[in-house]
């Protein structure tokens, strides 16, 4: 899933690239959400006290519906307009990775069954979470739910992250919402993480800014993609012995993956036999996506009766709660939304004088606190000069 250790690399090398924000600060923003990823999360995280998934009377899982329903409403309540993007056919390069995931899941299933036999609840819980798989039916039900809620969704031809990134790049939405760091590698200008987390976790939204990240790393987009491939992506293996630190310095030193490969001591760092890094790079640069211009996003009023029929009658949700939630949703979709100043006034380029001075200072203190993790957030924006 995503790029190995990328968030740490960004945190260490380009602290300006990520900041934390309250969900409230995103009102009026449209966000493209990686649906498959979120559904997967909900299936894992939304559980009963005994660790079992939520089900209706017939024993069908409803955790994903619970998640999509309430977390979407939470976003809408905070003035965010979500659009969900569903995965299409995975790229052929991903088949190895998918096979591995399948194997891991099978192993977990065996372990889960064993743990259940032994009555080891803790381990059963642990392993059963690893057996989770998003099925076609799950996706289908979520689509139906979203349609009833009046929330638009998009079918990506291939990877959902790539489609989210394309929508954000074209200005159709403000940001891509995913936990997958490779959304950045696909060129999303802004990536929001933790957007679909439960309110109870009080997790602030982590906003990753591609431009600032590249600036902080001192790389261009192509070098950034190369670095991500070195770190390890879903599409090809990484080189043994090259971790985050070395990946960054190698790309910085040599400028491109070809030159890195040419200069590597292959005895020390054996390059995997079948290493289609060029194809992977191509996939990141020009992923298979729908032309964002042809995508029309429309938020409709929710169909209350339809939702009650689906959620209450079919899925055994509590009628009162569903009705209340739908009314909340309808209210927030129709009231006037607060505009944002940055859509009227443009951000000015920084005064070069003060900017250079700042940079010099930044370099100075980076040495001192290289080890400390970057603290994002608005509070981190101002730090004592000494």
């Amino acid at each position: 899933m995503g790029i190995k250790g990328l968030s740490k690399v960004v945190g260490d090398n380009a602290p300006a690239g990520s900041k934390e924000n309250d969900i409230k600060n995103y009102f009026g923003r449209k966000v493209a959400i990686d649906a498959s990823m979120s559904i997967y999360q909900f299936l894992i995280a939304v559980r009963q006290q005994d660790g079992m998934q939520l089900t209706n009377e017939a024993g069908e899982t409803t955790s994903h519906l619970m998640g999509v329903f309430y977390r979407t409403i939470r976003m809408v309540e905070n003035g965010i307009k979500p659009v969900y993007v569903f995965d299409g056919k995975p790229p052929t390069l991903k088949s190895d990775e998918l096979k591995k995931r399948g194997e891991r899941r099978a192993e977990a299933e065996v372990s889960a069954a064993a743990a259940q036999e032994e009555g080891d609840n803790e381990n059963f819980d642990k392993f059963s979470r690893r057996t989770v798989k998003v099925t076609k039916e799950h996706n289908e039900e979520c689509r139906r739910l979203l349609k009833l809620m009046g929330i638009p969704y998009v079918e990506a031809p291939s990877e959902a992250e790539a489609q989210c990134a394309a929508l954000a790049r074209a200005g159709k939405v403000y940001a891509a919402g995913s936990e997958d760091m490779d959304t950045l590698t696909f060129g999303a200008p802004v990536l929001l993480r933790h957007l679909t987390f439960s309110e109870a976790r009080k997790m602030p939204i982590a906003e990753m800014n591609l431009e600032k990240t590249l600036e902080g790393l001192g790389m261009d987009m192509d070098q950034f993609i190369d670095m991500c491939i070195l770190l390890g992506c879903d599409y090809c293996d990484s080189i043994k012995g090259i971790g985050p630190g070395r990946a960054v310095s190698l790309i910085k030193e040599h400028g491109s993956l070809e030159k890195v490969v040419a200069s590597l001591d292959t005895k020390k760092y054996p390059i995997p036999e079948n290493w289609p890094y060029k194809e992977a790079r191509e996939l990141f640069r020009n992923p298979d996506v729908l032309d964002p211009e042809t995508v029309e996003l429309k938020w409709d009023t929710p169909d209350e009766e339809g939702l009650v029929e689906f959620m209450v009658t079919e899925k055994n949700f509590n009628e009162d709660r569903v009705r209340k939630a739908v009314q909340k949703l309808a209210k927030h979709l129709t009231t006037a939304t607060q505009g944002r100043l940055d859509s009227f006034f443009k951000v000015m380029p920084k005064d070069p004088l003060t900017a250079t001075k700042r940079k010099a200072e930044d370099d100075g203190d980076k040495k001192g606190k290289k080890k400390t993790p970057a603290k994002g957030g608005n509070k981190g924006a101002g730090r004592p000069r000494k």
Binding site: T337, Q338, R340, L341, F344, T354, A381, G382, R385
Partner: protein, 261 residues
């Protein structure tokens, strides 16, 4: 270096009270023309900008442009140590990391000195285009404060309707609705200076958040009048003059009806 001497500490205190609710840290940009500040609130809905002109100070010297990153809460704390009639002198070296404040009592028998640590603040600076507004309304600042306070009881937002004969503020919410209309030329306290004047090119109707407007009215002690400048679908400009030293301006993005776009 910067050296600025101001005869009334009260002006600085009021100015700070007027912005500290909206922003927590801000850069004070100093150049030979005066001291500038521009900062947006966290959610990027409102912006505050003020200018203190060099001529407004008793003594002002700024050799090179530099910006002072200041925690407004800290500066407020230090200004609390000054009497309202004290003479304040601000001093800062170009590459220093301190702002020195000297407070002298009017009869010069008490002199206190404070140093405030500066911060590095990474802020975005917005370019604000010069705008010809469709409606420019000048009214009593205390009246505006009262309207905002009164209508906050009813709703989170207020609709401002400006036509030739007057300006109408209305709000409606769960418990009911209400409105206040001020007629052109009328004065609420028989003071000609605070009478309502309207310059109108075109009637406008806009919706704004009362929470922010109430926040702006923290600047009321700075001036008897306030100017509201409006055009359709652009941010509202609320301006208070700061005696003869400069001004403080607030910009507020309007609430936009859902067009599903």
């Amino acid at each position: 270096m910067l050296e600025a001497r101001m005869t009334q500490a009260a002006t600085l205190k009021k100015l700070l009270d007027a912005i500290k609710e909206l922003v927590t840290d801000a850069n004070f940009d100093c150049n030979d023309a005066g001291i500038n500040l521009q900062a947006m609130d966290n959610s990027h809905v409102a912006l505050v900008a003020f200018l203190l002109r060099a001529q407004g100070f008793e003594h002002y010297r700024c050799d090179r442009n530099h910006s002072l990153g200041i925690s407004l809460a800290s500066l407020t704390k230090i200004l609390k140590c000054a009497g309202n009639d004290d003479v304040v002198t601000l001093k800062s070296e170009e590459d220093g990391d301190l702002l020195s404040l000297v407070f002298e009592s009017p009869n010069q028998d008490r002199v206190s000195e404070y140093d405030l640590k500066l911060m590095d603040i990474d802020s975005e600076h917005l370019g604000i285009p010069e705008t010809e507004y469709d409606a420019v309304v000048k009214l009593s600042s205390s009246e505006f404060q009262r309207i905002c306070r009164d209508l906050s009881v009813l709703s989170e937002s207020v609709i401002i309707d400006c036509s030739k004969d007057g300006i109408k503020f209305s709000a409606s919410g769960d418990i009911g609705s209400g409105s206040v209309k001020l007629k052109q030329g009328a004065s609420v306290d028989d003071n000609a200076d605070t009478s309502t004047t309207i310059e109108l090119k075109q009637a406008v109707t806009l919706t704004f958040s009362l929470k922010y407007l109430s926040n702006f009215t923290k600047a009321t002690p700075l001036s008897d009048t306030v100017t509201l400048s409006m055009s359709g679908e652009v941010p509202l400009l609320v301006e208070y003059k700061v005696s003869d030293v400069g001004y403080i301006r607030y910009y507020l993005a309007p609430k936009i009806g859902d067009d599903n776009a």
